[in-house]
Subunit: 490 residues, 2 copies
């Protein structure tokens, strides 16, 4: 630990960047907009992957892998989709380099030009639906419930570690169904899986809702999303689930014989979450001392730090620590005993706080004499002395308590920063300070656009649980039947 | 199941292709040389990944993720490396498409040309060592033991599902060390991990050895490999581990302060296995009925098929199956009960044989009356009737027996097809029939090349356990001190 972190309240953006860097989560690479996910950051992502993958499998999905390259002609097939992604495509035009005839190094070999350019997948609907044409003949082949874990590339001009990068890691589910109702059900089910994951693993409350037509995925009939509120009052879209209707089935001619023995186009969904969730996780919970990780996603859940002066003391402490360490491990807890001798315990305390380790156990000679151990919680930064006896059970329960507390804190924050607003003046004033604004919208793209122009706020979603309620649009004054969520967003 | 598979003995190549296709492992995509890994094939790959990943972590490695793109200038930095990969590079030259001004569709936007071309990684030494420059300052930062799971692209002209594809999935370990001895030790340790995995998970015996200088990885000081023998008598390189010396540290200027307080270049290793292992697995064990999977890598280890005529019978059978199914699951066995009603049991038997499911349990009304169940082994195609009582324990042990038997069969095959040969005439005759040939080599690239020209055989490796033995080169007649392994190879 060198100097302190920037304060969250003073420079949120710098605070975020510094946490990512100093907690060793990720860094920028030499290629503009592409990040390197460092081991500690990747370990968190692996935990996310494992949890999500288990949930996908529990809901009947299988993993597969489709090619990185999308032929340009595929992208062109679904018109809206093509339009939506054309501007951010990395394009492969050649397949060979050769020695530079004019000097040193390598140059692109002009004789190795591809007949048709290949796009690095920005998403895989086109490649996958082209394959599905061969896989789907009869209603008996449906539903087809497939997911892939992959890297994708969307050329971004303004990037930010985890939140917006040119290359990112994600999962994309692509399912095919015999009926519209079943596809809609799947779209909603997977939104539910995402919300479940966000709340129960990431400890991050989310609003489930529908995007407005202007914010839909390119090629979707309906886009569902989960939206979370970050500590600076901005919204972060954390996952999307799309009902694609028969758009891609038509573009790639995927027809099947239904139970009535008639040819019909298949119904589609797609859904994804990405390494952007890492950004959400960091921004939702962290504080001025660094990262705060919910125990279920923490690579190290408990760290044990010995406090000693002599080698003899360390030996005695280690002797007491060993059985606790083994018991914690046996209880399925990821625990680290840091007896490294090149840093003092104070440095270690700060380092593990920075890295968001949920529980720190400190053991010194006086503790040993008293048969006690110091337990420090990362979430609320409290410390207490506990008897050594029964410490494993205590810590096991404490991890659950911390998981719940982090969620409750975030839920409280969201509650305190969600505002029902009914006048345009109030809206303009409030939106500058951040938070979710629940307000009436007349349902037109025109009003949505005007509000965005004047305030930079967007409609994050039309909440699925929004009650029917008569009102007037916050901006146009026209009649409205529902409140929607407005916010400035990442 | 439609018609039978081509016979392995008659058309090995077609037999392989048809197994891959009909067992639903993979298929070619619309992009030349790129494959789609289908769910059943991917489930096997996931089991491989999980086992390998656990072994990497048990040996102290951490996962991370580095960018897909390699700037052209990075590739140029290590000369041999650049030369080795230049001819198979997919090159990104532009980052945007636009609407075709002359008509329909999209065209590459000439205004979005990259200043420096980006290569899709064929391997990541350059990108990773460029990052290591920032991560390594002192001996305290070493060793750095990192692995990544990723896709890579090497443009291939002649491709084959799993064995040689333009895009493939792999893991690449990249480690940095303070001393040469430690880096060599790491190189050998990881070769050992690969051999362990091949033998104990894939049930595939391998020879551990060194590549000749001509077959080394571009940029390596020494390349270690594991070589396996396929059932057509051809060799398949199944994994490589490279000692890179200080080559990449020099190219990317990665120096550290050693314990003597002097600046020194770091020592490097890299090692990888890929989806090529899927090809090895298929070719090492399968037969004329289809895939044969070792139980430890089988997505479905046990399938239960009811044999019935009426719905009533099915209900009774299912009632008897349920507790067995649950007990097998509780024993950690991956089990499927196939009570689907759209195919007859004979069709199902053939289908699960094709898919290589190690154990099939068949239960009909007569079995029920007798308190027995039919147990069919995929490895040797034997069947027997066993008492229902104790069946779970029996099957649990049987899976271990099958795992061992598949390995032993492959080991026997290799033994019978490894030949010590001492004359050139015998060599030429034998190499046409396939197998590993253990013969003397004079250690020159010239002789190696001549033998390859005349017979298409290559030196697969210089076995690590080859004893010192005086002899004369099989081709040149010059003196030699060791036998090496020759074979035709994939």
């Amino acid at each position: 630990m060198s100097k302190a972190l920037p304060k969250r309240s003073e420079n949120y953006s710098e605070w975020y960047n510094e946490i990512v860097k100093r907690a060793d989560l990720a860094e920028n690479s030499a290629v503009r907009g592409c990040m390197i996910i460092k081991p500690y950051g990747y370990a968190i992502w692996e935990k996310m992957q494992r949890a999500l993958d288990d949930m996908f499998k529990a809901t009947g999905h299988q993993n597969a892998y489709f090619p990185l390259f999308v032929p340009k002609s595929f992208l062109e097939k679904e018109e809206e989709h093509a339009e939506g992604f054309a501007k951010e495509c990395a394009v492969v035009t050649h397949y060979r380099l050769k020695a530079n005839p004019d000097g040193k190094g390598l140059v692109v070999d002009p004789n190795a030009k591809l007949e048709e350019e290949l796009i690095i997948r920005p998403t895989s609907e086109t490649v996958i639906w082209n394959a599905y044409k061969g896989w789907i003949q009869s209603w008996r082949d449906l539903p087809l419930l497939i997911n892939q874990w992959a890297n994708v590339v969307r050329w971004e001009m303004r990037t930010r570690l985890f939140l917006r990068t040119t290359e990112f890691l994600w999962q994309e589910g692509h399912t095919a169904h015999a009926t519209e109702a079943e596809a809609v059900e799947e779209t909603e089910k997977m939104l539910g899986v995402y919300a479940d994951f966000a709340e129960n693993w990431m400890a991050m409350p989310v609003v489930k809702g529908l995007k407005t037509p202007g914010e839909r995925f390119a090629g979707a009939v309906e886009t569902y999303c989960i939206e979370a509120l970050m500590q600076d009052g901005k919204a972060l879209q954390s996952g999307t689930s799309h009902f694609l209707g028969q758009n891609f089935a038509r573009s790639f001619d995927v027809q099947f014989v239904n139970k009535e023995n008639k040819l019909e186009y298949a119904w589609a969904t797609s859904w994804g979450v990405s390494t952007r969730l890492m950004g959400a996780l960091i921004m939702a919970h962290s504080d001025d001392k660094g990262l705060v990780l919910p125990p279920r996603l923490a690579p190290i859940q408990v760290v044990i730090v010995p406090i000693y002066k002599s080698e003899e003391d360390l030996a005695k402490i280690s002797e007491a620590v060993n059985p606790i360490f083994e018991e914690l491990k046996a209880a399925g807890i990821s625990v680290k005993y840091d007896d490294s001798d090149n840093q003092r315990s104070g440095w270690k305390f700060a380092e593990y706080e920075l890295k968001g380790v949920p529980v720190r156990l400190g053991l010194g000679m006086r503790d040993l004499e008293n048969g006690s151990i110091e337990v420090a919680r990362r979430d609320n930064l409290t410390k207490e002395s506990r008897p050594l006896e029964g410490i494993v059970e205590y810590v096991t329960n404490l991890l659950d308590e911390i998981q719940a507390n982090i969620y409750q804190k975030a839920a409280r924050f969201r509650q305190e920063n969600t505002f029902r607003i009914d006048t345009w003046d109030e809206f303009k004033e409030r939106i500058e300070k951040g938070g979710f604004i629940s307000a009436h919208w007349d349902g037109t793209a025109e009003t949505e656009e005007k509000i965005k122009e004047e305030t930079k706020a967007t409609i994050r979603c039309i909440p699925l649980d929004a009650p029917e309620e008569e009102g007037t649009d916050i901006y146009s004054g026209k009649p409205s039947t529902k409140r929607v969520i407005f916010a400035k967003a990442y």
